[in-house]
Symmetry: C2
Subunit: 169 residues, 2 copies
């Protein structure tokens, strides 16, 4: 796709995010199975439902623009997810794996924050208000998820992973 205008860049970013959300839905299903902590499983379950809503919001925006959401594979999130998988496969203790899962999820959240931040700013400049509103809503939810994960890591999971060090050495 040739990018001749901000509108083209906007559509390209939306397609990138749509591909990202669909890759994240698949990844989260595996992450739920890999998590040991019930609290972490629940946080991922909740985020999976939210991610499906985010994909639906993108579909709504594409419908308004009369365009297809498909047509791009998000290589950025592919690399981020691949890296997360690799780290988790190296974790030899359930609590270390949980800490690694949180780190992987936070890298994913931040990728999305960047994407939704850019897309929302493009929509604002282009005066596409409804899309800007929907994108802002998702952006805020991604930030909230990131904060919840930080809290879970700081208050519980990282402490458990630190104790694993004492057990495993």
């Amino acid at each position: 796709m040739k990018l001749k205008s901000l509108q083209d860049l906007f559509v390209d970013e939306l397609r990138d995010l749509y591909s990202a959300e669909n890759q994240i839905i698949k990844a989260l299903q595996k992450m739920i199975k890999s998590a040991s902590s019930e609290e972490l499983k629940n946080a991922f379950e909740e985020h999976l439902q939210q991610t499906k809503t985010h994909a639906n919001r993108l579909e709504q925006i594409f419908e308004e623009l009369d365009l297809s959401p498909k047509g791009k594979k998000c290589k950025g999130i592919e690399g981020v997810i691949e890296e997360g998988k690799e780290t988790m496969s190296q974790a030899e203790d359930p609590s270390v794996c949980d800490a690694a899962l949180i780190a992987a999820a936070q890298h994913v959240e931040h990728y999305e924050m960047a994407g939704y931040g850019c897309a929302r700013t493009y929509a604002d400049t282009l005066g596409i208000r409804k899309a800007a509103g929907l994108l802002q809503q998702t952006l805020e939810e991604e930030k909230e998820t990131d904060e919840k994960l930080t809290q879970l890591a700081e208050e519980m999971i990282n402490q458990q992973a630190a104790s694993a060090g004492n057990r495993n050495t």
Copy 2:
């Protein structure tokens, strides 16, 4: 590398960041050449110097830990950079290319925020205060860069890219 403890995860995250910073140094040099706006070139120049400082800080931490910073290739940032390159190659207008460069840089910044956030939290839990302080310093600088880029996009570059749409259609 087997990850048996939070300490192992901490070192793995630091190596990931060290590889990321070195990939970003190379990418920024190309981004400076690709940018048309003087303001954007300057912002990238400044961030390049800052990125070198961030890599040095990681080297300091590794020296304290008596470990090598090498040994991991950051696949996450590789995907993010690759995607940015692809988008820029599709941009057919200098101001659209500048807007795409900002978006690419903000995806990079967010990747780093996630990594430094996790590493700083691990250092806190492990009680490695000096490292926690250095990581926090870098984290704050990454956030500041991200905010500066948002400002540059909103106040100038995106408007120019939006006008390109009128010229090019």
